[in-house]
């Protein structure tokens, strides 16, 4: 019993010693850093839609994206693999927060031009910012000719559509990141006459890392259509898939009911529905190249 009472006192000199430890002294002196949260997502896309990430300064991201035909098209079409739609993209980081990109989709022979700017970065530590916020804007020119004989071609103006998005994301833990994506979509001339020019939508997306290099991703866009437009053959877009990262490459493999890979198409014109098995297998391959000469110069300075 006596011994037990003495034990707390025995610790006192130890406390003193801990303070005198040099490493402890350094820890005490260290300025608590504000740590920017990086790699909320592995890629600039969650699946179809953009993520808060931007291509880093002086880097070029070459993207090849495919969506195959519908799984329910049967064995004759090899479950959709006989058909493929493609988007090729070149995307460049002007600064660490600003990127621009250009893409060409086989669907509607559409060219898309976009810019993305990170206005806020999530941080932890001394100064805490709870979310990352990135603004996204794009213009799409659909150049496909009408297949109806005698129908007048669209004017240049009527080929255009515009998208604006506010991407708000938070990396909750090393594994879990979620994003909310309010979307504004304006088509000068919608694909179907019954459709409205303006479409508002809200996207939610996220990723869950299942290992250091692989994450499970999901994404849903809820199109806020008028009740009266219920006759339109459009569905909300849902996609699930995996990200696999290896150095400068990110492979994204997924299933989605959307064929298009640009906002106008997958948010506004998704005609497939998961319920009937209108599911497309697809992948995005992203290869990032550094166009930075500085890294080579720095190496010779050593």
């Amino acid at each position: 019993m006596k011994l037990l009472r003495i034990i707390p006192f025995l610790l006192i000199p130890l406390l003193g010693a801990a303070q005198d430890d040099l490493l402890g002294e350094l820890e005490k002196q260290a300025v608590p850093p504000t740590v920017p949260v990086v790699a909320t997502f592995k890629s600039t896309r969650i699946i179809n839609g953009h993520s808060v990430e931007t291509v880093k300064r002086n880097h070029m991201d070459f993207r090849i994206s495919h969506r195959f035909g519908r799984l329910n098209s049967g064995a004759y079409e090899l479950f959709g693999l006989d058909q493929a739609t493609i988007r090729l993209g070149l995307e460049y980081g002007v600064t660490d927060n600003l990127m621009i990109g250009i893409g060409r989709s086989s669907e509607q022979k559409a060219y898309d031009f976009f810019g993305k700017y990170r206005v806020l970065r999530q941080t932890t530590g001394a100064r805490t910012v709870p979310v990352s916020v990135t603004l996204f804007g794009s213009t799409v020119i659909r150049t496909v000719r009408s297949f109806i004989p005698g129908e007048q071609e669209r004017s240049f103006q009527d080929k255009l559509s515009y998208t604006g998005q506010v991407l708000i994301a938070r990396k909750f833990s090393e594994r879990l990141s979620l994003q909310l994506t309010p979307t504004y979509l304006y088509r000068n001339q919608p694909e179907l006459a019954a459709d409205d020019q303006l479409l508002l939508a809200v996207g939610i997306g996220g990723r869950y890392k299942i290992s250091k290099r692989v994450s499970l991703n999901g994404e849903y866009f809820w199109a806020l259509r008028d009740k009266s437009s219920a006759a339109l053959p459009y569905y909300n877009s849902l996609a699930v898939g995996f990200d696999i990262e290896t150095g400068g490459h990110v492979f994204q493999l997924h299933f989605t009911n959307s064929l298009g890979m640009i906002e106008k198409q997958f948010i506004g014109e998704t005609v497939g529905t998961w319920g009937k098995g209108d599911i497309h297998y697809g992948f995005n391959i992203s290869r990032t190249f550094s166009l930075d000469k500085k890294s080579k110069r720095a190496a010779t300075d050593w």
């Binding site: 006192f9 430890d21 040099l22 880097h59 490459h249 550094s290 300075d301 050593w302």
Partner: protein, 188 residues
């Protein structure tokens, strides 16, 4: 009760005397702006990064030396490398710092200006894995500053830093490290 109180006071006195001498001294030298840089050299790619916020502290009466740095303070020539460094290789979220805690092996007269070839032995921790290392270096005493410099190597495997096969060719298995610290008198 009195007995316990007596024991307490006695122990307290022992405690104070045990930690007293170190506390009373002002022979500590330190910096918070030390430079630590590393270099990875392969035929495919050379990568270099520098940390200019390295903390170092030296007790000249005991020869004890401690070094500490935040992994996220390493500056890379490009952001993508920095992201991969923190995110994939060093896992800076889990293991935010690298530290060294050791002792200068030689007895150096820190009151005499001069250049001393020294070595220091102690625990080197990075990526949460500690290795006992003896690092060679140079110690220059000039008036009131002590400059420490050391060039050494760190093998990734020694600290369980994994590099995937596909980027194996681009990252050296043994990384060269340069440490340059200028310590000035330090009062706590």
């Amino acid at each position: 009760m009195i007995r316990y109180l007596f024991t307490y006071i006695l122990l307290l006195l022992i405690g104070l005397t045990a930690s007293g001498p170190v506390r009373a001294q002002s022979n500590l030298y330190a910096t918070a702006t030390g430079q630590t840089s590393f270099f990875s050299e392969t035929p495919a790619e050379n990568i270099t990064a520098v940390n200019k916020k390295t903390q170092a502290i030296l007790n000249t009466s005991t020869g004890e030396l401690a070094i500490r740095m935040n992994m996220r303070d390493f500056d890379f020539p490009n952001e993508l490398m920095e992201e991969h460094f923190n995110e994939n290789y060093l896992e800076s979220e889990k293991y935010p710092t690298a530290t060294f805690r050791g002792k200068v092996d030689q007895t150096v007269d820190y009151t005499q200006n001069g250049t001393y070839e020294v070595s220091t032995t102690g625990a080197f921790t990075i990526h949460g894995v500690t290795q006992n290392r003896t690092l060679k270096g140079q110690l220059i005493v000039k008036d009131k500053t002590i400059s420490i410099s050391s060039d050494f190597e760190v093998a990734l495997a020694d600290h369980k830093i994994e590099v995937p096969k596909i980027v194996f060719m681009k990252i050296a298995q043994v990384i060269k490290v340069k440490a340059r610290y200028q310590l000035t008198p330090y009062n706590r």
